[in-house]
């Protein structure tokens, strides 16, 4: 959606909740996929997506458009919903494809051999959840640093710096493991 159109749609929805349907239609699939990547189950994802949009609708009057993509704000709400959903879980398994980790693998300078990819999966699993989230948002969801900043409620520079630190950490973990 064009930023100008997006701003107009948001303003309309702030005035009349029925106008939110346009934003809902536009972002539903993106938010659904964002949650599905983490929740795995489609029916559960559908519930969490619906809950995300409901929370977004309720919080919309307070939303201030600052030129950052609206989807990042929706992702922040979705991530909070996922955190609540995960509270009672002991372990969360995230399925990723080779295509999703290709960018990360290139960044780390590792090849796409099966053994190295499994090492990468293991190393990611050893990261604290906050650090792993940076990697997920950047490489699995393909967010820009500005968007990551919105999702994690930090500045763009902080998102960039923290991601580079986590990459360095992952690189060292991969080297140590051979």
């Amino acid at each position: 959606m064009d930023p100008k159109d997006e701003a107009t749609s948001i303003r309309s929805a702030q005035g009349d909740p029925r106008c939110f349907a346009l934003l809902y239609e536009h972002y539903f699939a993106e938010v659904f996929r964002f949650i599905l990547r983490r929740a795995g189950d489609r029916d559960m994802t559908a519930d969490l997506t619906q809950q995300t949009f409901l929370k977004a609708m309720l919080a919309l009057p307070k939303y201030e458009f600052r030129g950052t993509p609206f989807r990042a704000w929706l992702y922040r709400i979705a991530l909070n919903e996922l955190r609540m959903h995960w509270r009672k879980r002991k372990e969360v398994v995230i399925d990723m494809s080779f295509a999703e980790v290709r960018g990360l693998s290139e960044e780390l300078g590792t090849d796409m051999e099966d053994e190295r990819i499994q090492q990468l999966a293991h190393a990611m699993g050893r990261l604290p959840s906050g650090k792993a989230r940076l990697i997920e948002l950047r490489f699995m969801d393909g967010l820009s640093f500005v968007e990551m900043g919105v999702v994690l409620e930090i500045g763009e520079d902080a998102a960039k710096m923290r991601t580079h630190r986590v990459l360095a950490l992952l690189r060292s973990m991969m080297t140590t493991r051979g």
Binding site: R37, A46, V93, S97, M124, G125
Partner: protein, 85 residues
Amino acid sequence: MKHRYHISKEGRKEPSDAEIAKYRDPKKLLYNYQRATNLLHKKPLYKDPKSFIVLILIVALAIFIAEVVEKDRTTGTEDKEQQVP
């Protein structure tokens, strides 16, 4: 809570746009929104003066009835005791 990553060639099966569209329900969203806002803005009974007075009257009436019933019961037993020689 622990995160585990499973990386495979295929990854999870991605749903198509048509499959995702089946889960989209704007009417339900609007209904849930209206329900949530109604609940948020609903005035508690004790904050509405009219309802509060009605509530007080009902409580007072209930106490009065309970008192009368209790009084009747005690006078009834006293009468019976007096009749016993």
